[in-house]
Symmetry: C2
Subunit: 361 residues, 2 copies
């Protein structure tokens, strides 16, 4: 078997060590004589998994004692509805900052279900930047302000989060969760689909401030209710057990590799390799995002022509550099370099970029 | 490694051949150099998986050309809300037949969200039976009648489905889907969580008549909308890819093993082994369900005392017969013998039952 360097935007590359562990115990989980896929979600074995995952998360973040961690099915797109339905009471509204496609989707869903206000929108700049604090036009008394911490498609990322004078902040962190340290106390709720930095698709992480659980709306579909999931420790129904099992192994891997500070350091090194190749290309490669808003997770850039971009993706693939085509809505090149992408993979890509330029530049 | 006989009610035992295939290609899916968990849901490889799964389903059922097959996240509990929210227009109502805990949950969720009527309820008989056609008290003009085809907790199963003179039938088939042949044309919509007969938890199958897709309500959360999922071939968002991959392998396994007729024959043989041990015990084992309503999937019975039941479960476990305790709400013994449980496993359980009786009877 020859593993490729997988720059897919999600589902994405996973740590080889974790996959090997999964493989080795796939037919017999810890001597149970069953696959982890075959054990009851109400068994001690599975309770240990989900319990360890919750405590690992809190350990990685630090200081999250007043939060609950939930593992839900349905994808982050389900949270686009769940957040406003749970949190916005009748007569109130929520503010959304639109920095990319998924932030837009979150807003559109909220606007369909409750009253929602656009506090800022970078669409006129093709979402190549993050708005400044001074740009935010908040409504009179928003229930929360929603942002997307990293924009997968355009390759921008909030470098620091806005100070909102007590207005609760809600973040979709699907594409950069646990890629760097962050202060959970700034947030009332964060959510993240697992399939970029946390594991396979099929499970969504929600971290919610405990006090919010007492205020959520109750006249909504039961499976969208945070209070129900919290009360049942994410086991109101049968959860996506196998995905949670892998998330737990990934969290263990994060802890064993130095936690969020070490991960952030490595992610900065990785991203720098590729951004340096862009910036040192004399304009052959053009980054999409403004310098100060560049994402550490998704590096987006263009080549001089679409033909060259096609050739770039095709030749990269021949060198086992996979998944480099940009999102179908924007084109160009996108290298997704989540936690599990190795420094070696980023070096290989940067080398390839230089070679490709020397042949075609 | 020594595999046990796993009688868990769900997540449940899976075919060993399938697990071995999953294990063998876990690090490298079909020469891609990536795990199937790491490939894009928009890749040709994954499209082939989900496409094969849909066509295998239609092949197994037969004559389902006017239906769409959807693979959704969120569990069957999400469908408890999605069904009424999609299908019941303002001013109309839906009828529910209450034959057990999950049928009750489906009704309670519907009653919370739309108008719902109880057409029959077997609770007074501790859900030990399926109602007769003459018992059904339908409302004047129901949008649909909902039933649960197999009741996991109490061990009853519809042997044939009611004739409703054109009223659409909706069924939760979570615990007996593809365990026997059935006429899809009788149903407007069926749904099933995968974790009993189809694969690991984390994905729910929905089979819906195409013409219904044009009539569904649109002012509901997007992720609950059947028309959106159908239009996007179950990829409106990132689906639970790994669970779908295993479902596809299970469907292939079903086809390679003779399809639904062969599965039904084997399931009847398997269930007969255990029911014969009950019926031949002279009253030591007492079945919960009425004879004519017995489930082929979940065999539920009591012993003369709770102490004996505890001893039974404990001694069975020592003989590698796992997961035999009844649901916490009803107690007793429950042997879940879904498609993937072998005849050998059922023989071992029947033998054990006889031994246990001879020692304790």
């Amino acid at each position: 078997m020859e593993r490729v360097f997988n720059f897919n935007p999600g589902p994405a590359t996973l740590p080889l060590e974790v996959l090997m562990e999964v493989q080795s115990e796939l037919l017999d989980f810890h001597g149970s004589g069953m696959s982890v896929m075959e054990i009851s979600h109400r068994s001690k074995d599975f309770e240990a998994i989900i319990g360890e995952a919750e405590s690992s998360m809190k350990e990685l973040i630090g200081g999250a004692d007043d939060y609950r961690v939930l593992f839900l099915g349905g994808g982050a797109s389900t949270q686009f509805a769940a957040v406003p339905l749970n949190l916005v009471p009748a007569g109130r509204e929520a503010d959304y900052i639109l920095t990319g496609s998924f932030a837009e989707k979150a807003y559109e869903e909220a606007a369909k279900l409750v009253k929602a206000n656009i506090a800022a929108n970078t669409k006129a700049d093709r979402h190549n930047r993050i708005p400044k604090a001074a740009e935010l036009q908040l409504s009179a008394n928003p229930v929360y302000v929603h942002l997307c911490s990293n924009n997968t498609i355009c390759g921008t990322q909030w470098q620091s989060f806005p100070e909102l004078k007590g207005i609760p902040l809600v973040a979709d962190m699907s594409s950069d969760i646990f890629s760097r340290g962050f202060d959970i106390q700034k947030f009332s709720l964060i959510y993240a689909g697992a399939q970029k930095n946390l594991g396979p698709s099929g499970v969504t992480l929600v971290i919610i401030r405990k006090e919010l659980l007492e205020q959520v709306n109750k006249n909504i579909p039961t499976m969208l209710r945070y209070d129900i999931h919290a009360k049942n420790d994410s086991m109101y129904n049968t959860p996506p057990c196998f995905s949670i099992y892998i998330v737990n192994l990934i969290l263990r891997w994060l802890k064993n590799n130095g936690g969020l500070p070490a991960m952030e350091k490595r992610n900065r090194e990785k991203a720098a390799l590729i951004y340096d190749a862009i910036d040192g290309s004399g304009g052959f490669y053009k980054g999409h995002a403004l310098l100060e808003d560049r994402s550490l997770m998704n590096v987006t850039y263009r080549l001089p022509s679409e033909d060259l971009e096609k050739a770039f993706v095709a030749e990269a693939k021949q060198q086992a550099l996979i998944g480099l085509n940009g999102h179908r809505s924007v084109g160009g090149i996108r290298a997704s370099i989540y936690n599990a992408m190795t420094l070696e993979g980023c070096k290989a890509l940067a080398e390839f970029m230089k070679e490709f330029q020397s042949k075609n530049g």
